[in-house]
Structures are given as structure tokens and as C-alpha cells.
């Protein structure tokens, strides 16, 4: 009896450990039906183009836009791509009015940005191109701490609503 129980305990322990071990090695959990696939645009290594990476977000969530931006903030899984959103950036609010998405970020988007025309283009259009993949959104207005900004890093005019730039996308 006792011997059997102990072996059973041992067996359970081994199974539990292996499961944990394997799970830790795995990048992501299994895909189930409750997920929706979105495209996230990240910078190519030479910062010439934006390239889409597909990722699953929970389907039917109240704010898929916010979910998508949060995934964009996390950065790419692929080693061939670079993140486009600086450290510490958080999305404060997403508001959809008509066909315009108003995305309100915290100050880190400006304060922690690495600068440069190219750097700014990659950041702005990774956001704009990602959000305009949803057919109901045609334009994006970027806000910081609830305010309109003249520019993000000193080049692009971000006081206007922005349309996606398809020329930047590497298919």
C-alpha cells in the first residue's frame, strides 16, 4: 500500500516537474478558438521598412485596439525585427470616433524616444499601420498625456490625423 502510494507520489512529482519544465521552454501556450490574429508592424533591422508579425490576442475583448497596442509595445518575437516603441510607454486610452482612432500615450513615448527621422517614422507608422489594419479605422491621431503634440521627435507633423503609409510595408 505504502510503497504504491509513494511511487504514485513520485510519479506525480516527475510529471508535474516535466510539465513545468516543458512549459517554461515553450514560448507560448497552445492556440485555442478564443483568439483572434492581428498583425503587428515592427521595424526591419536596417530600419528601412516595417514588417508584419502575426500575434494572437484574446477574441471578443472589449478593447481589441488597446490589446493590439499593448502587444506592439511588447516588441517583436522575431530576432529579425526591432521594437518600435520606447521603454516605459503605456497606452492611456483608445477612443474611436467615426473612422479615426485617438490613441493617448503616456509621456514616455516622447521622453524615452531615441530620436532621428527614421526612428520617428518607424515608431509613428508602426502604430498607424497596425491600428488601421482594422477596417473600421482609416486614420490615427496620436496624443500624449491627453494632449495633441506638434511632433514626436522633431520631424513628423503629429498635430494632424495620420493615414497609413503602405510604402513602408515590406511584404
Amino acid at each position: 500500500m505504502n510503497r504504491k502510494t509513494l511511487f504514485l507520489i513520485l510519479l506525480i512529482l516527475i510529471v508535474v516537474f516535466s510539465v513545468f519544465y516543458l512549459r517554461n521552454r515553450q514560448e507560448r501556450g497552445p492556440v485555442t478558438d478564443g483568439f483572434e490574429e492581428v498583425k503587428l508592424y515592427f521595424s526591419t533591422k536596417d530600419a528601412m521598412y516595417l514588417e508584419a508579425e502575426k500575434r494572437k490576442i484574446e477574441a471578443g475583448k472589449s478593447n481589441k485596439y488597446e490589446e493590439t497596442i499593448n502587444e506592439l509595445i511588447k516588441g517583436p518575437a522575431s530576432k529579425e525585427l526591432n521594437r518600435t516603441i520606447p521603454e516605459g510607454v503605456k497606452i492611456r486610452e483608445v477612443r474611436i470616433e467615426g473612422n479615426i482612432a485617438y490613441l493617448d500615450f503616456n509621456q514616455a513615448l516622447v521622453a524615452n524616444h531615441w530620436g532621428g527621422s527614421t526612428g520617428e517614422i518607424m515608431t509613428v507608422y508602426s502604430i498607424v499601420n497596425t491600428i488601421t489594419q482594422f477596417p473600421e479605422v482609416d486614420y490615427v491621431k496620436i496624443l500624449v498625456e491627453g494632449q495633441e503634440i506638434e511632433t514626436l521627435a522633431g520631424h513628423l507633423d503629429t498635430s494632424i490625423v495620420l493615414e497609413p503609409d503602405r510604402n513602408l510595408i515590406k511584404e
Binding site: R3, F7, F17, R83, G115, T118, E150, H155
Partner: protein, 743 residues
């Protein structure tokens, strides 16, 4: 039964310890070690144990040019580069460094048949700075050496003497007896001397764990009188931490009380409290110390108590216990002289309050120094008289209904204070006059009148601004005649001795006279050079009048065929910052200045949106270009991206402006590629602010990537900057020729 159990337990233990073992030694595949900027991870084969990074001892010694020696008998490894000799025993956390011993976070390890050393401690022993950022470890040589830390200014400052100043900051320790300063990329010199430590102070210098910073801690038995970041100053190549002044004396001198300190004191806050009657004086940023107390036999102060009231903020409290009816008031003008002097005031009786002429008058038994201030909505003037009583003819209310005043009210504000409130019809200036009467009493007059405070002139590219301010609201009129702009201000007293600033910009001469037109007033006559028009940015009446003389659209001033160069960023906006700290704003300005020089030499008219390190908004840059009606606009930038391998040159135009801008951009890009030979990223169309809103052909060049270490070093060099300037100037000249030839 117990035999089975123990056997099974040991199985479990074996399995658990196997897991533990995997956790102990982790191959440091992700750890990258950079020595003087080069990745040496391959050779050093880092491993991690208990969060300490170890590297192959032999490879480390080779990279440090050190000799290595393994003594099997005593299991000891020694490494020496001729200056530093380190000995470490297998499994022993103590390292012998020359003649002293220190404890390491790790110890000598034997793994896969090789000896491994804890890299942080060993690198530091060999004089390297160690900086760990996640999985990247950087070893580098210090940028500055600290030679001496000593007392300065007679013990009122700490002086840190070093080769050159590196970035520093004062830590907030929440402990007033501990001062902590961190210096980037600094190390102690070999001949460093500690001239701080004594029986009250102790100096400790330690590297910050895993970072290339040196922490200097000064610990005292008593609170250290410093004010955080505000206390630190640079003096040549030294850093000086200034201490706050401390109290040195409270003395009774000829019917006055004097409080002295070792340095400048700030204005104190003063309260009068009762039971016992006492004056509480809170002096900010002043420290307690032994001080001299000399009160002799004075009829005002019974007792004095001094304490450090608070440490955050630092406030020293002096409590003076007073005899009945006695009061002391601070002589305001002594505050800036480095001591606080208090005059005695006896209880005074106020009588005969009246409104006569254009002033409030009343009589006091003694000399008083009332506190006077204005309040808004509705406009009021408040006069507080301390240590006073209302006597004969000092009524509660006088209805005046003059041009200036509605009424005067008086009240006992608190036990010590009589308050007079004048209800004003408009915001107006005032002055306090005082005259001793033949019976020894004092006549006090608060005279209502405006006076002229000051005139400021600001000159900029676009306009010359005149700002005139007055003590109260004034009415004014502006008249423009050829060569002169006249400003008539009424309701201001017309004294003669105004100090006027030197003429500037459009203003060629300034005359101030009594008004010739209506009653009392001042007439300002500004002799002007040429300007386009003037604008007034003030309502009527106003306490300050701002006049802008716009020089934008004058035909003569407009420079024909003007080339406007726009060095990107500036001031508090550094633009992108390279891996070694080069800022984009500096590169842009240097290249733009060199470009302007070449174009001027070739006979072109050139201006820059900024000639120095200042912030100008994108909107102002555009406004400048449009109001100057420049012929073309070239914005000069250095690029950056979130990837060190992005490289090359690119030029941008706005999608809304193509034809001529495209011609300009092509000429710039081709010349930049020819001169600089960087990767061609092409001419692109983007919604960039400055090129989109300017009215003339415009392009924005990104010379090279400051975020790329190689291109950053190029951008830092004068030769490369000259080449870039030559290319931009050449591109502009080619474009000008094409336009002039009508192609």
C-alpha cells in the same frame, strides 16, 4: 517500511537536487561581455552561478595582458599584470589583492576542467569599471580619477578634486547625517587622499554594484547641512558641495536685535503668539550651531530659544519671549545684507484717520513700519499696523467716493494688528510717506499714484518688443509719425529720473518727458528705424503695455535669394543621442555653420534658424522661413533608429510640395553620397513639419546615423562635418543654377 520510505525519499531528493543543479550553473549563453567596446563573450565563455557571472580565468588574463599561474598544491590561482597581483583559492570568497584582502561575491570555480573567475570583482581589481545592463556587461577604463576629497571654505564646503568632471548626482538618503554622491565612470587615483574623515565625519568610497559608478558617502554624527542637488557646484575641474549657513549669534545692540549667520540668510517667516507673548522667527535653510548670545539687560526680550525646527525643509526656529506691549519688527532691507536686524516697536496709538488730496493720512505715537499689499476682485489696498490701538478720530469707516477710492475701513484684525482697507475703484500704485510732527508724533501718508516701473526692449529676427510696466493701471495712447513712435501714458506721476535702457533693434533712441497733453502723465518718444507695422498686446487701461514693432515684411530688409539653413533640434531638445553621448543638436549646428560659411564665400545670402544652442519650436522655424520669404529651406539633421546597425544618408521632401523640392533633394542626396560615401537610403516623401509648412522649396537631410557607433564617430569628426557641409552647399548651388537657367 521505514527502509522503503528512506529509499524513496532519496529518489525524490536525487531528482530535486538534479533540478537544483540545473539552476545552479547556467551556461551564460545570453551574457555578452564587452571589453573596451569589443564583444569578448566567445573567448570568455561566461557562466552564471547564484547570479554571479564567471569567465574563463586564462582568457581573462590574456585579455588583461596578465600572467596567470595555478598552484595545484594549494589550489590557488594568481594573476598579475605587473602592478596588480591577485590570488584566489578554490572555493574561497576572499581575494588577496596585492597586500590586502577583500571578500568577493563569488569565488574561484573549477568547471569543465577550466578555472573560472567572478568577473566583476576581478575586473575592478585590475582598474576596470564594470557595468551590467541586463545580459550585457561592459568593462571600460575610468574617464576621471579622483585625487583628493577635502574641506573647503573654512569647513563650509566639501571639495572633490578630479581630472575632469563627469556626470554626477546627489542621492536622496532620507538620512540628514548622510551625504551620498554618485559619479559616472570615475575611479580613485592611486595617490588618492581622504582629507575629510575626522572625529565627526567619515568618508566611504565604494563602486556601485553592477554599474560603472562610484559612490562617495560622507557620514556624520550630526545632520550634514546640505540642500541636495542645490548644494553642488562646479569649480573648474572640482566639484564643490556647499554647506548651508549656520547661526552664529543673537545680540542686543543699541535698541536693536541682531541675528547673524555664517552666510546669507533667506527671508524669515515671523509670527507673534501669546501666553507667553512671544515672537516666533522661522529662518529657512539655516542650521543650528553653537552661537553667541548677548542680551544684556534689555527691556524687550525676556528669553530666547533656538531649535532646528524641521529638517525637510531645513528651518531654524528662534523664539523670542517678549515683555508685555513690546514688539520687534524686521528691517526688511537688512535681509540682503547677511544679517537680520529687528527694530523695537512700542505699542502705538493711531489717531486722526482722514482722506485728503489723494492720500490716506493718520497719526501714530511712534514710528511704525506697516505691511502694505494689494488684493484683487474687488481692488483693495490693505495696510497692517502691528502692535497698535485705535485712538481718537480713527473711525471704523470713511466714505470717500473720490475718483480713486470708494471708502476706507478700519478694524482690529487680531490682538496685535490694526488693519486699514482702502476700497479702490481701480488698480493703482501707492507710496508710503512719513513725517515727524513738532510734538514728536508721526504723520503717515499713503499716497495713491502710479509710477513707471521699467522699460524692457527685446529684439529678435522678426520684431522689436517694448514692454513698459507701471505700479498700477494706466491709460495710454499711441501716435505714429515718420521716424517716431509716441506713447502718452496718463495717470502716472511725472518724476524725471527714469533709467531707460539702451536703444535696440528698430528702436534708435528713447526720450522720456512729462506728458504734454493731459494732466499728469509721461510721454515716451521712440525714434525708430524702419519697421513694417506695430502691434499692441495690452488692454486699456493696463499695468503693463507691450508694443511689438514688426520688421518682417519690409521690402528693404528682405534679402533676395535668401537661403535659410535649419540646424535641427537645440537647447533642451538634444535630438538623438549617439551611443558614446554625441548629441544631434551639436552635429547639426556645426554642419549648418560650415555650410553657411561656404555659401557666403560663394556670394550667396544665407541665414540660419539658430546660430547657437537654443530651442526653437518647429512652428517658429516655419514662421521665420515664411516671413523672411526665403528662396529655399534646408533642414540639417543626423539620423537615429532603434538599431545600432541602421546606417546611411537620406533626404526628405514633403508629399505636398514636389516639383522644385524634389530637384533640391536630389541635388543634396547625390552630393552627400558622392562626398560621404555612405549607404544610399534614397530621397523619401514624409509629412515632416518644417518642410511641409514652409512656403518655399524645402528639403530635410539626414547626413548619417548618430545611433550607429561607426557613423557617430564620423559625425564627431571635423573632417566628416566639413565634407557634409561641402556636399550640402554644392547641392544647394547646383539647384540654384538649375533654377536660374530655367531648367
Amino acid at each position: 517500511m521505514s527502509g522503503y520510505r528512506s529509499r524513496n525519499l532519496s529518489y525524490i531528493l536525487i531528482i530535486i537536487s538534479l533540478f537544483l543543479f540545473f539552476n545552479i550553473v547556467v551556461k551564460g549563453e545570453n551574457i555578452h561581455i564587452h571589453i573596451n567596446g569589443q564583444d569578448k563573450s566567445q573567448e570568455l565563455a561566461p557562466v552564471v552561478q547564484d547570479n554571479v557571472v564567471y569567465v574563463k580565468a586564462r582568457e581573462l588574463a590574456r585579455l588583461f595582458n596578465a600572467e596567470i599561474n595555478w598552484q595545484q598544491s594549494i589550489k590557488t590561482l594568481s594573476i598579475s599584470d605587473g602592478q596588480v597581483l591577485i590570488k584566489m583559492m578554490l572555493g574561497n570568497p576572499y581575494i588577496q589583492v596585492n597586500n590586502r584582502t577583500m571578500r568577493s561575491k563569488g569565488s574561484l570555480l573549477l568547471l569543465y576542467g577550466h578555472t573560472y573567475l567572478p568577473i566583476e570583482d576581478i575586473a575592478r581589481c585590475f582598474g576596470f569599471l564594470f557595468n551590467r545592463e541586463g545580459n550585457n556587461i561592459y568593462l571600460s577604463r575610468p574617464e576621471t580619477f579622483i585625487r583628493d576629497i577635502r574641506w573647503g571654505k573654512g569647513g563650509q564646503a566639501i571639495v572633490i578634486e578630479m581630472d575632469n568632471i563627469v556626470p554626477y548626482r546627489i542621492n536622496n538618503t532620507n538620512n540628514p547625517a548622510r551625504l551620498e554622491l554618485e559619479l559616472e565612470k570615475a575611479a580613485l587615483a592611486d595617490d588618492f587622499t581622504d582629507n575629510i574623515s575626522n572625529k565627526n565625519f567619515y568618508l566611504a568610497v565604494t563602486p556601485v554594484a553592477e554599474e560603472a559608478r562610484l559612490k562617495i558617502s560622507i557620514i556624520s554624527q550630526y545632520p550634514i547641512p546640505f540642500l541636495g542637488d542645490r548644494s553642488i557646484a562646479e569649480d573648474g575641474e572640482n566639484l564643490v558641495i556647499n554647506f548651508l549657513p549656520y547661526i552664529t549669534g543673537i545680540r542686543w545692540k543699541k535698541d536693536q536685535l541682531e541675528i547673524t549667520a555664517s552666510g546669507q540668510m533667506a527671508r524669515p517667516e515671523i509670527m507673534l503668539l501669546q501666553e507667553p507673548r512671544r515672537l516666533v522667527i522661522d529662518i529657512p535653510d539655516l542650521m543650528l550651531s553653537d552661537f553667541e548670545l548677548e542680551l544684556d539687560n534689555n527691556p524687550w526680550i525676556k528669553d530666547v530659544r533656538v531649535s532646528q525646527f524641521t529638517y525637510d525643509p531645513i528651518v531654524l526656529r528662534v523664539v523670542l519671549e517678549l515683555y508685555p506691549d513690546r514688539y520687534l519688527h524686521l528691517l526688511e532691507d537688512t535681509v540682503s545684507s547677511g544679517k537680520l536686524v529687528f527694530n523695537t516697536t512700542e505699542r502705538t496709538s493711531l489717531t486722526d484717520l482722514a482722506f485728503e488730496g489723494n492720500g490716506i493720512r493718520f497719526i501714530s505715537d511712534n514710528k511704525i513700519s506697516p505691511e502694505i499689499f494689494k488684493l484683487k476682485e474687488p481692488d483693495r489696498l490693505v495696510i497692517n499696523i502691528l502692535n497698535a490701538d485705535r485712538g481718537e478720530g480713527f473711525r471704523d469707516r470713511i466714505d470717500v467716493n473720490s475718483e480713486l477710492l470708494k471708502s476706507i475701513r478700519t478694524s482690529r484684525f487680531n490682538e496685535e494688528t490694526i488693519r486699514i482697507v482702502a476700497d479702490l475703484k481701480q488698480d493703482i500704485g501707492y507710496s508710503l510717506l512719513e513725517r515727524q510732527l513738532s510734538d514728536g508724533r508721526f504723520m503717515n501718508i499713503i499716497l495713491f499714484e502710479n509710477s513707471f516701473k521699467e522699460l524692457l526692449i527685446n529684439d529678435s529676427e522678426l520684431k522689436t518688443d517694448l514692454v513698459l510696466s507701471f505700479t498700477g493701471e494706466v491709460d495710454y495712447e499711441i501716435k505714429e509719425s515718420s521716424g517716431t513712435l509716441v506713447l502718452e501714458v496718463s495717470g502716472v506721476k511725472s518724476a524725471a529720473d527714469y533709467r531707460v535702457p539702451a536703444p535696440l533693434g528698430v528702436i534708435k533712441d528713447i526720450k522720456v518727458k512729462p506728458s504734454t497733453e493731459r494732466g499728469e502723465g509721461i510721454r515716451f518718444e521712440f525714434a525708430t528705424g524702419e519697421y513694417d507695422n506695430y502691434k499692441v498686446f495690452s488692454s486699456k487701461p493696463a499695468t503693463s503695455i507691450t508694443l511689438s514693432l514688426m520688421k518682417g515684411k519690409i521690402k528693404d530688409r528682405k534679402i533676395s535669394n535668401l537661403i535659410l539653413l535649419d540646424p535641427g533640434h537645440g537647447g533642451f531638445d538634444p535630438g538623438a543621442v549617439g551611443p558614446s553621448g554625441l548629441t544631434e543638436k551639436d552635429v547639426n549646428l556645426a554642419v549648418a555653420l560650415l555650410t553657411a560659411e561656404i555659401l557666403q564665400r560663394e556670394g550667396y545670402n544665407v541665414m540660419l534658424t539658430r546660430n547657437d544652442d537654443r530651442f526653437i519650436s518647429l512652428k517658429d522655424r516655419v514662421e521665420m522661413a515664411n516671413s523672411l520669404e526665403a528662396m529655399l529651406f534646408v533642414s540639417i539633421h543626423s539620423n537615429s533608429a532603434n538599431a545600432t546597425y541602421s546606417e546611411g544618408t537620406e533626404t526628405f521632401i514633403a508629399p505636398n510640395k514636389v516639383a522644385s523640392s524634389q530637384l533640391l533633394a536630389d541635388a543634396l542626396q547625390q552630393n552627400l553620397l558622392k562626398e560621404l560615401k555612405r549607404y544610399d537610403r534614397g530621397v523619401k516623401k514624409e509629412n515632416f513639419y518644417v518642410i511641409k509648412y514652409t512656403d518655399m522649396p524645402a528639403a530635410l537631410v539626414e547626413v548619417a546615423f548618430i545611433s550607429n557607433p561607426h557613423e557617430e564617430s564620423l559625425l564627431a569628426s571635423n573632417l566628416f562635418r566639413e565634407k557634409a557641409a561641402r556636399a550640402i552647399a554644392q547641392g544647394i548651388m547646383e539647384y540654384m543654377q538649375k533654377i536660374n537657367n530655367g531648367s
